[in-house]
Symmetry: D2
Subunit: 255 residues, 4 copies
């Protein structure tokens, strides 16, 4: 009985963004997909959609992005009975959860700081722990990997700005984690990578407040499916040439 | 009755490191000195030493580097009755507190992550808030400043490494905060600056585990007094040429 | 009569490295391939190999990487009569030429500096001019591009070190060029990208002085074919998510 | 008969910018000053001004910033007979020469590229060689130094932009040189440092095309004297805490 590769993603919002696009793409590529988010309705809707399309997905809602909740969901995933036959091997984990806050510094509250750090950093430590522990149990595959751990970063991961103190503190911290892990676990054939998303992504939410010119011009905004393709590319890199970090931005983005 | 400039520093360890050296130097330059740390004995000893040397210092112990405790100490400082006559004007604030943790990733606990983020980032947000609010009440001085906010950074602020995931996450986050503040408050003539300390500092603690060759060779380790001088230089920069970031390392450091 | 896409690459060494691997890969993908290098024998051998394998390649030897010679080769390429029918559309240009020099600073000669700057920077300006002028004549393709300009960078593009003053000066300069071009021509749907190759590549040359352990361990050195695949990926990115820069290193590389 | 410290600076423009301000400041601090530039009139005027003010300066015009001319000027300086008694010890060298060009890429000529690379990089290699060879003959002074080599950098040293391809290529290259030298010669107690000037400097030239609001507002533009003070500070750093790089910008600069 064969083993099927498993893709775990945390952070799928309402199902129209990067996490969901990646889930759909990896499902098409034959991965079982474990979806983690706080919103159970979105999870179930996306899982249903993927399953209807011939994939195999399951939702794992969590109450919040606390360290404990984030880590323990890996136990739930490991215990899950998939409908198809065969065991699962966690091969790709995508940390796409995050918490943005854009405010002048004096408007930033203690709660804002804590939420940004907990969601963007602390929970990412827990997620990384769950993923790395699972990867270490894997054999090295034909590409020279035990697993790939992907992080969704942002411009705020490399540049603090006038309204991003709390958000940038979290995203810088996440980038530090990703670099530390890349250096420590590359030696064990675990690939850790960080994508700097430098621009707005077309989602249900951004569509609700952006103008038509932006929505309709593919040179101006990121397509979540294109980001997902870059994640797939990173996963498919073989052991001789791994990327830790790349940036992604629309063709016409000013930067 | 004249106003005296006030220097606030958080993080003085046992009184042999950067925070203490800066406190001594600014006291010599005529600043009143408010010392913040968790260890009341160290605080009192250092305050006593400065006062004996003709300076004016007071200790403000805090129970921990929680957001609330860190912010409220500014109220205590504002309420403090200094022995000399005249009111105080907070002109320089140095965030030198920190929490280091060096461990392989899988040994890093939830508590390690939280401690690093709380001390290195959350408390720095509170400290910055206290400082900025005080600075905004100041006139612009002859150098073109309302105040200077100094952050002690580290190599781990710009590079994650195999045993620094939790520490680097905190120090990256602090650097993000400092850059955001520099951009937002430069326009209000508040100078925010970040020093990357890239090497070991000679302190009571480092002396206890380093060898004689290191201790006795001034080309190999940082002197806390030299760091303090660089902080004084940054404070004395006039409005036309402010530094956000500089690095500091011993002459013979390999980097 | 259809138009065939053309791939131009400068810098193919003796045919065992990155430039040659990219030429082979793009030929397989249906591109005509124009090979530029100083060594006519290597060019002809590689062109012959690609043609024998069913591709279509031609060599364009140049006397040196002067500005003039590098730029004028684009005229030669435009004037070339390909054996198959149909006109060519230059769609991908790879600047892979370079000149490395590793010496203590006081051993670096005027000639070393000039050679590094001419080959790594000045010639790259000429190559970029030739490529951009050609791209501007193209329609925007289905991926939203007029063309892709790829630069092979190195660790020395982001870090000067004790024996790399002349090499790093050239590679930093090349990186500056690539970033400037990416920002200026993204708006015209020309994609410019820079790869930081952070490790040794397995080539005929490196095999001649490296030990067996290194040569035989795919975790330790870059495979030129894997770099070529990353270039193909970058070319295939659609307009919504373009990468300017990524790093590539072997799984076990210490960095 | 005592030895007097010598300060060498290349690039003094018309005497109203950074190089000239540094020359004045180091003259006031007791350094003999050797002025290098292409414009003999400016050199003589500045030398005369410094000498009238009680300093000791001499001009060393060079025909152009070729490698040979730049290097040989160190021989001329060594052979110079100063009016006061005592030999000279070259202790501080400032590379402030540069060549800016701001043009859309397709307007950049071969000559523009070569001029930028020659002046910003090649000549800086020659200047560094002259300075390092002189420093190596010095004893280590009380601050732990044989000498300090200062480089004036720019925003274009860390960021390429739409009209800066040629300028940024030069300034990136210069930065690479400075970092390589800092790492190689720190071990010999030679301090190499690089200042990123991030904003406009008030000079005769900038005054001719800027508006009154900019000229008269010290929060908006750099004062060359303030940059000079930062250079003096860097020179005075002791061996335990050397800065390789700092940025300098006006208080209100948007960045």
């Amino acid at each position: 009985m064969s083993t099927r590769p498993l893709f775990v993603v945390a952070g799928i919002g309402n199902g129209s963004g990067t996490g969901a696009a990646a889930a759909r793409l990896f499902a098409q590529k034959g991965y079982r997909v474990a979806l983690i988010a706080r919103n159970a309705d979105s999870l179930n809707r996306l899982a249903g959609e993927i399953n209807s399309a011939g994939g195999e997905a399951a939702g794992f809602p969590i109450s919040d992005y606390s360290y404990g909740a984030t880590l323990s969901v890996f136990d739930n995933i490991a215990a899950h009975k998939w409908s198809s036959a065969g065991s699962s091997s966690l091969r790709v984990a995508l940390w796409n959860a995050g918490s943005g806050v854009w405010k002048p510094f004096l408007d930033v509250t203690e709660k804002d700081v804590e939420t940004s750090l907990q969601t963007n950093v602390t929970a990412a430590f827990a997620f990384s722990r769950g993923a790395v522990l699972a990867f270490k149990q894997n054999d090295i595959d034909e590409r020279g990997k035990r697993g790939t751990l992907l992080f969704t970063g942002a411009t705020a991961a490399i540049r603090g700005n006038v309204t991003t103190s709390a958000f940038a503190a979290g995203k810088f911290g996440l980038r530090a984690l990703s670099q530390s892990l890349a250096k420590e676990f590359g030696k064990e054939n675990i690939h850790v990578t960080h994508a700097i998303i430098d621009g707005g992504i077309l989602t249900d939410r951004s569509s609700s407040y952006r103008d038509e010119a932006w929505i309709n011009n593919p040179d101006l905004r990121l397509d979540a499916n294109s980001i997902a393709k870059s994640y797939l590319y990173l996963v498919e890199q073989d052991r001789s040439a791994w990327t830790w970090e790349l940036d992604l931005r629309p063709a016409h983005e000013k930067w």
